[in-house]
Each structure stands twice: as C-alpha cells, then as structure tokens.
C-alpha cells in the first residue's frame, strides 16, 4: 500500500490536515491507535451517558457569518459550514482571585470595562497591551521565543492583574510552567478574551463526526486500531510506517500529530535525532453528573478560573493535585435553545503526572476517589454545594491522558518547546497538532491545515 501522505493520529489536527489533502485529491490515510477518533479531544459513553474527554469550551468563538478570525478561516479552508460546528456562545465566565473578581463574555469591551473598574490605575497600560497584541502576527511560522511575563509587565504594574490575565490563558493552553511564550500568549489572549467560548449542543462528537464524514466523502482513508510502532527512513528521508500488527504502509510524506518526542521515538527509540522533551503539565478532572441544571442551584457561570492564593502557581505540583487553583466548567451554561440532558460540573486542577503514572494499580481507584472529593471540596468557595445532586461521577488523571493520547507524561499541552514550522530532522516527516504549537480546538485544526498547506499540497 502506498499513499501521498500518511497521517499519524485522528485528532483535530490530523483530521483537518486529512480533509485538506483529500479535498485536493491527494491519496491520504489517517492511522489512529485508539478504537475511536479525537485524541486529546475525544468523547466516550459511560453508564449510558455521553462525555467529552477534554472539552470545556471551544475557544475562538465567532458569530455565524463572521468573515474574519481563525474560526472563519478554518471553516473556509475545510469547506465546511457554520452549522457543522453548531457553536453556541457562553453566558459569562469569571476569573476569581482573593478579594478580586473579573467577569468576561464574548464581548471584549465588557472585559475592558471590568478591568477599568477593578484596576483603574492599570487600564491605560492594559489598553496599550491590547494594541501590542493586535499588532502581533502570531501566525508567523518563523518566530523566536519571547517571555510573555516580561512583555506584559512592561504594560501592567499590578502583579495581581498580571496573574489574573495569565490564569485562564495558562490553564487553557500553556505547556510551559510559570511563563508563556509571547506568541502563545497572543494566540490564547485573542482566542479567549477577544473571541471567547462556544460549545456545540452535542459536544465535541458533533465536530469530530462531521470532520470524519467530510474526510471520507472526499476519498480519505481512516484506520482505527492502527498504532504506528515505527517510522522508517532511508538516507534521512521518511519512507514508510510499520503498524503494531506488522503491516507496512509506504508514503511520500508522513505527518505526525503524536507529539515531537513521541514521533522521534518512532523514528529511533534509542537515539532521538532531535532534542524534544515531553512536557509535564497535566491535570486531574472531576466530572459530576447532576440531577438538575447548575443554574437552578445558583451557578450560571460558564467557566470559573480561580486561584485561592494571590500568586497564581502554574507548574507541576509536588503533591498529587494542586488544590490552590482550578477551573470550574459547566457545559450547561451556554446559550442553547433547549437544556442539556443532565447537569454537569467539571472541576480541573493541576496534577503531578509522576504520582499518577507511578501509582500501583490497586491504589489508583481509591486515589481517584479521594482526590475527587478533595477537588470538589476546595472548589466549594466558588460554587453552590451541588454534592447532594450528584448522580454519577467520573475522574480523569494524567494516567488516563497517557492511555488515550500516548503523550509520555500524560501531558495535556505537549512539549514546552514547540516546533512551529512543523519540520523535523527527518525529511518528509512533519509535525502537526499540540507540539507544532497552535493550541485549543480551533488551533489544533489550523495546525493541521497550515502544515498540510505548507508542505503537502505541492
């Protein structure tokens, strides 16, 4: 078997790249080790209920028909329609720190007014920062790294406001502890504060299933349960992949969304040709299913980003779960035309991957249960006590993430060092997805599209 391009991973980036290539009549095959599509943003069914794996919200929200911005760009590139994503806007989200609360919606001016009211001495600096962000071309693939904290501190003097701005951006997309690359900061700032959150009524499965249907209708091949154990090369040029079952598939190009370090291990498990370190930022998430809408208990925020300490600590904790900060997401609190089937509260907190990955199997379940209770308990400052309404619970940990994505440390946002131009040390082997560097759901899709356009459509 021989293809123009073989894509490793049927997540958002791999599927989007596949659609581009198939649309322009390239022969393309997507290989996915797992039994289902989605990767980091997948979905599952448990005890007769539907769950999303990672999704809190799709960032980069835009009203249907908008002609500019990343979402519009990617719909055009994929030849898909606004209805295919069916994004409904968030109601309102909050950033909550000790003695200070900022709200934001998908209307950026509302956030500016919030900052002006809470930080009157910082608002001019904030406005200048917004101008700097607007002028920054974050899609430039030949960029160099720059500390976002350093740039932001040139405009904003109050460390509390700095941390409050960084908190949602780091939680939703930073592979690096404590600081972000300024480019990444700009991408996240625009996607969360300027554009905002949305969610399809049916969750992430809707987008994934439409992508797959589109890909197949264009003649693309998708193989599930097809794990790649080796990427073969001749004279520094990738030539084929060897599957777990021993099948070899030849290709002119290989595009991998498996992660930079993970991909290079497939090329040569013993002597990685490229310095690529897997990241170690990961999370534990507590998912509670309620017998009522969270709003009926008085919780109508879409997402709450909180830190109970004045300094926001975004790093791998030296305890199993860092209870000082977290994210509360209710998928119910979007502007739908009808209510979801049941109430949901998802609470996410930073976790130590080493603890969770090394825990003996017989202690794992008890640890999940214990930390689930702890996470909920610590989030009680920020939402009404929903515990009497819980009808089912699920918890994911770094161990879950590693099992389903193959990311070495169960890291969610990939390696701290990104490979923005998508190239590797092996010719005809390219990277897309998390480690290429555009994050979030829309970012992942744009990553696949951008790398496909740049190298694979010639």
């Amino acid at each position: 078997m021989r293809y123009d391009t073989v894509i490793i991973g049927a997540g958002m980036s791999g599927l989007s790249a596949g659609v581009r290539l198939a649309y322009f009549e390239k022969s393309v095959c997507i290989l996915e080790r797992h039994t289902t599509i989605g990767g980091l943003n997948s979905f599952y069914r448990l005890r007769k209920r539907n769950y999303d794996v990672g999704l809190h919200a799709v960032t980069n929200y835009a009203e249907p028909g908008t002609k500019q911005g990343p979402l519009s760009k990617l719909l055009r590139q994929l030849r898909m329609k606004w209805e295919d994503f069916d994004l409904r806007p968030q109601l309102r989200s909050s950033i909550v720190f000790p003695d200070c609360k900022l709200h934001f919606t998908n209307q950026f001016n509302f956030f500016v007014e919030q900052i002006a009211a809470a930080f009157p001495h910082q608002i001019d600096g904030f406005r200048r920062l917004v101008t700097r962000i607007a002028e920054h071309d974050a899609l430039d693939l030949e960029r160099s790294a720059l500390s976002a904290r350093q740039v932001v501190s040139e405009y904003i003097r109050d460390p509390l406001l700095v941390d409050m701005i960084f908190c949602p951006l780091m939680f939703y997309g930073s592979a690096t502890p404590r600081d972000m690359d300024f480019n990444q900061f700009v991408i996240m700032f625009k996607s969360i504060f300027h554009e905002g959150f949305g969610r399809p009524f049916d969750g992430i499965r809707l987008i994934l299933k439409r992508l797959v249907r589109h890909f197949k209708s264009l003649g693309g091949h998708l193989k599930l349960r097809a794990g790649v154990q080796e990427i073969r090369q001749t004279n520094g040029k990738a030539t084929s992949v060897l599957l777990d079952d021993g099948t070899e598939i030849e290709a002119d190009n290989i595009l991998s969304s498996a992660g930079a370090a993970e991909t290079m291990r497939l090329v040569d498990p013993h002597a990685p040709l490229m310095k690529a370190q897997p990241g170690d930022i990961s999370f534990v998430e507590s998912i509670s299913v309620l017998d009522c809408e969270p709003a009926s208990l008085g919780h109508s925020d879409t997402i709450v980003f909180y830190s109970d300490s004045k300094d926001f600590h975004y790093e791998r904790p030296n305890v199993p779960v860092d209870l000082r900060s977290g994210i509360v997401c209710s998928p119910n609190n979007f502007d739908y035309s009808q209510p979801l089937e049941d109430g949901r509260i998802r609470i996410t907190a930073l976790a130590d991957p080493h603890y969770w990955l090394n825990l003996p199997e017989e202690e794992y379940l008890a640890a999940k249960e214990y930390w689930n209770a702890q996470i909920i308990n610590s989030a009680m400052k920020h939402l009404p006590d929903f515990r009497p309404h819980v009808v089912d619970t699920d918890v994911f940990t770094p161990r879950t993430i590693r099992r389903f994505t193959g990311h070495l440390n169960g890291c969610v946002y990939g390696a701290p060092e990104k490979f923005v131009n998508g190239q590797t040390s092996v010719r005809n082997l390219y990277l897309c997805g998390t480690d290429q560097g555009f994050l979030g759901i829309v970012g992942a899709m744009l990553s696949g599209i951008t790398i496909a356009n740049r190298y694979l459509l010639k």
Partner: protein, 87 residues
C-alpha cells in the same frame, strides 16, 4: 470556454472558498481583496481549485494576474479555450 463561462467558474470557486461573502455586486475591475475578506490562504485556494478542476498549473510569478476578476478571466481565457464547458 468563453469569458462568460470562465467568469462563472471563478464565481463558483469564490463561493466555495468564501461562502459568507455576497458576490452579487462584484466589480470585475477592482481587486478581489478590496471587495472581500480574502487572505493569502484563500487566494492560494483559488489557484488550487483551478488546478483541481482543469489540471492547469499556474506558476507563482503569474499570481498578480489573478488579483481582479477581469485579470483572471483574461489570463485563463487562452489557457482554457480548449476545455469544454461543464468539463
């Protein structure tokens, strides 16, 4: 294909690439980019759609010819004259 046919093909391509644009008042003499939101990714897609439809290769140095509808039609006319309509 005649000029009219080619113009129609280009309109259909633009509709596929930018379905949210209203193209009814498109001025053939003015650059596309002044009249619609068309970035470099979209522009390349026009070239690629033409390649997909008619197997026509347009070298990069010729791209400036495709900035307006009138220029695009003029550029394509001799290259597509032997192509049957609907092909």
């Amino acid at each position: 294909m005649t000029s009219d046919h080619i113009r129609q093909v280009i309109l259909e391509i633009l509709e596929r690439i930018a379905p949210d644009e209203d193209l009814t008042d498109l001025d053939d003499a003015r650059p596309f980019r002044e009249q619609m939101e068309l970035d470099s990714m979209d522009f390349l897609d026009i070239v690629m759609e033409l390649r997909k439809m008619y197997r026509i290769q347009i070298p990069e140095e010729d791209y400036p010819n495709l900035n307006t509808m009138a220029g695009t039609v003029e550029y394509l006319l001799p290259r597509l004259k032997d192509v049957a309509v609907g092909a």
